[in-house]
């Protein structure tokens, strides 16, 4: 199952920021992680991922660095900036509030806080 475009537009950047908060990652790695960790819900191809990464980079939420990997090929690694960390924190709080609201409305299942 894939999210609708509008939902993806809201959830995608937060998901990417969250993945990058653990460690720096390159493009394909991000695609795989998003697909596997969300059971395909937040899976996205390069046509969605890279423009999203460029947008986050333009906003100084992430930064990129070309480096040679162990296999000798060049890869572009993305990592979170200080601004990105703050943004992630803020987004997570928002999502938490949202999910609680959804639970209280019965849209999501779970215990009320």
């Amino acid at each position: 199952m894939k999210l609708e475009r509008e939902l993806m537009r809201g959830a995608g950047p937060t998901a990417v920021l969250k993945l990058l908060s653990t460690r720096e990652m390159y493009g394909y790695e991000l695609v795989e992680a998003l697909s596997q960790k969300t059971d395909g819900v937040l899976a996205m191809g390069q046509s969605t991922l890279y423009p999203m990464l460029y947008n986050l980079e333009a906003k100084d939420l992430i930064e990129a660095d070309w480096r040679s990997a162990d296999n000798g090929r060049d890869r572009k690694y993305y990592s979170l900036t200080g601004k990105g960390k703050k943004k992630l924190k803020s987004d997570m709080e928002s999502w938490e509030k949202l999910s609680k609201a959804m639970v209280s409305l019965g849209v999501l299942k779970g215990a009320l806080a």
């Binding site: 333009a58 090929r73 060049d74």
Partner: protein, 669 residues
């Protein structure tokens, strides 16, 4: 960190300088050198990916239309992605399927990549967008103006010519004098022409008979003039026509029909106007009131001169009856021509009346007792009729303007509209632009170029007034003039402001601004001075004739002007220089002096102002303007009025002295 991720100085410069980037783009576009995709493509080829994936990436970078360094960046990223996917065991089909439509990918990439561009570039792009956007809006705005200006069609709906022709309705042909005036005028003109040619052949080319000033005409043709006898002979030989003219001058009206084309005959190698072709009911559609011909006015003026001069000859020949008949006929012409609805006609009448007054002044002063009471009464009555004729032709000026407006402006059905190209072109046939001698700057040279003028002229729609505003401006001006005519010369100040504002306007100087009202606004200050001078002189002449009548009956002069009322005058003679007061009259042992207090506004006891007057003739044409100066508000620059709408007058600035209307004493003039 890999060095390849860093930009070399040239790439950095290209990335940060919009100018360098533009130059590079132009080099590619114009010279087809250095395709921005070349580097990205070679990187893709070197990566040795499956051909379908390779094509996808090349297509994406090509379609992205980004800068070269940005395409390289995208290519490297997508190559790395594809290689990782292959390493992870994905097939090229799976990778291609996940890639999606390269055009859409390129579009998304381009949009996001541009957000990463430096602040300089974004500022440049935004500035360019604002400028281009503004230009586009201006172009759109100009386009709509040009469309309105060049496609707007005036609609000629009102037939004002019919209004003018209606004035002659109700009169039979034998009550109209215009045919006689044209015929006698033609013959007199031809006789004068022959006479003048004869003088010229003798070496006298002084333009004697065509002098601009009528008063000069009389000053130069006197009994001492070498050609006096010849001129008298010429007039005496014209007696039959003069008899026709005297009869015609008693008719009700001139009655010239409105027309746009004259009839002419060829005689002695030149064209002579004989009459007019009356306009048809349809002529108003293609002819404006500006084009109305008044060919009789020149004749009326010349025939008025002829009659007054013949009266002069009659006096020398002791033919008093002919003398009076001529002056009555001349006065009849004045009555007829002043009755016409045109301002110019009224001015011609005023000019002829001036000649009559001069002649009677001379006679009553030098030959008192020459005229009998019956003759005096006839002259006085006709003079009173002429003096009482109201109006100054403003009605015709007004409808002439309305006629122009309907030919130049569109009509939205509510009386409003805008200026049109058709209207401007139509007006230019009457008013050729005078652009010579104004080429002192580049702007002025450009402004003289017809193509430039045509290009910028639509702007005049927004810079100029609309139809309603033009009508309002013009009507305000004419209303103020009519107020002077109707309410008295003390309202003079209110029209001077409008004239001053229009005197600086020339529609040729700025093609983006046009005001029909200002172009057509007549400068009426001088004419109004003549109008009131004429009215004052009519009153003066009437009073003079009443005094002469009194003297004949009583064998003495009246002690006061009150002695003339009501037996000789219906009321005391008005002094227009002294509102509410009558003319002044001083009697002495050797005669009397009749005078107005003059343009200085105070009674100097009948003292002649030597600066502005000569003898009993006013030479200054602005006597009333000098007398009735309005107080000007220093802020608005406009005349000030009191609560009742009356002007607040300033101190008069006329020269010291009085305006002598008649001095019967044999003193120096």
């Amino acid at each position: 960190m890999n060095d390849s991720s860093k930009l070399n100085p040239w790439q950095w410069a290209i990335t940060h300088s919009p100018i360098l980037h533009t130059l590079r783009w132009m080099r590619y576009k114009c010279l087809k050198i250095g395709s921005p995709n070349q580097q990205a493509k070679s990187i893709v080829l070197r990566a040795e990916l499956p051909i379908d994936i390779e094509n996808l990436i090349v297509t994406t970078t090509t379609k992205s239309k980004l800068w070269s360094v940005e395409r390289v960046e995208i290519a490297r990223e997508l190559i790395a992605h594809a290689q990782d996917a292959i390493e992870a065991g994905r097939t090229s089909e799976e990778i291609s399927e996940q890639f999606g439509d390269p055009k859409r990918v390129a579009k998304l990439m381009r949009r996001s990549m541009k957000r990463k561009r430096p602040l300089y570039w974004r500022t440049y792009r935004n500035t360019k967008r604002v400028i281009l956007g503004s230009l586009a809006i201006m172009l759109l705005f100009y386009g709509s103006l040009a469309f309105r200006f060049y496609t707007g069609k005036p609609k000629v709906r009102s037939n004002y010519i019919a209004d003018l022709n209606a004035l002659n309705e109700g009169y039979s042909e034998d009550q109209k004098s215009w045919k006689v005036l044209m015929d006698v005028g033609l013959q007199w003109g031809q006789q004068l022409w022959v006479f003048e040619n004869a003088l010229r052949e003798q070496g006298d080319d002084s333009g004697l008979l065509r002098s601009e000033s009528i008063s000069q005409f009389f000053q130069r043709i006197d009994e001492s003039h070498p050609e006096y006898d010849g001129f008298v002979q010429l007039i005496n030989g014209f007696e039959i026509e003069l008899t026709r003219l005297r009869e015609a001058a008693t008719r009700e009206v001139i009655g010239l029909p409105v027309g746009f084309e004259s009839t002419e005959v060829e005689w002695e190698g030149r064209s002579w106007t004989t009459g007019i072709i009356p306009a048809t009911n349809e002529d108003y559609k293609s002819n404006s009131m500006i084009g109305v011909l008044l060919p009789h006015l020149g004749n009326v003026r010349r025939l008025g001169q002829l009659l007054v001069f013949d009266s002069h000859i009659a006096l020398i020949e002791d033919d008093v009856d002919r003398y009076v008949q001529d002056l009555l006929a001349a006065m009849g012409l004045v009555r007829q021509v002043k009755q016409e609805p045109y301002l110019i006609s009224k001015l011609v009448g005023i000019a002829i009346h001036k000649l009559i007054i001069n002649e009677l002044h001379s006679t009553l002063k030098n030959n008192p007792g020459l005229l009998n009471n019956d003759q005096i009464v006839k002259l006085a009555h006709l003079n009173a009729e002429v003096g009482a004729q109201e109006g100054f032709g403003m009605g015709t000026e007004r409808i002439s303007f309305y006629d122009l407006v309907q030919r130049m402006y569109t009509d939205d059905g509510n009386g409003n509209g805008h200026l049109t190209s058709e209207g401007i072109n139509w007006l230019s046939q009457y008013s050729e632009p005078d652009r010579v001698g104004r080429n002192s700057s580049v702007i002025e040279i450009l402004m003289n170029e017809e193509s430039v003028i045509q290009l910028i002229r639509p702007i005049s729609i927004v810079r100029s007034m609309d139809r309603k505003s033009e009508l309002r401006l013009y009507n305000n001006h004419l209303n103020s003039v009519e107020r002077v005519v109707d309410d008295g010369p003390e309202y003079f100040g209110s029209i001077i402001d409008l004239e001053a504002s229009s005197s600086f306007y020339s529609y040729d100087s700025d093609p983006t601004f046009f005001s029909l009202a200002k172009v057509m606004m007549p400068a009426l200050g001088n004419s109004l001075n003549r109008y009131y001078t004429h009215k004052q002189e009519c009153i003066g002449l009437g009073t003079m004739l009443a005094i002469e009548s009194f003297r004949l009956k009583e064998s003495r002069l009246p002690e006061r002007l009150d002695d003339l009322v009501p037996g000789y005058l219906p009321r005391l003679p008005t002094d227009y220089m002294d509102p509410g007061q009558s003319l002044k009259y001083n009697i002495s042992t050797d005669g009397y002096v009749l005078y107005s207090i003059g343009s200085d506004g105070d009674d100097d006891g009948g003292k002649l102002d030597e600066d502005s007057m000569s003898g009993n003739k006013i030479t200054s044409i602005d006597v009333f303007s000098l007398r009735f100066q309005s107080t000007i508000d220093p802020k608005s620059g406009l005349a000030q009025f009191g609560n009742q709408g009356q002007p607040i007058l300033a101190e008069p600035v006329g020269p010291d002295g009085d305006w002598i209307l008649f001095d019967s004493r044999h003193m120096s003039e």
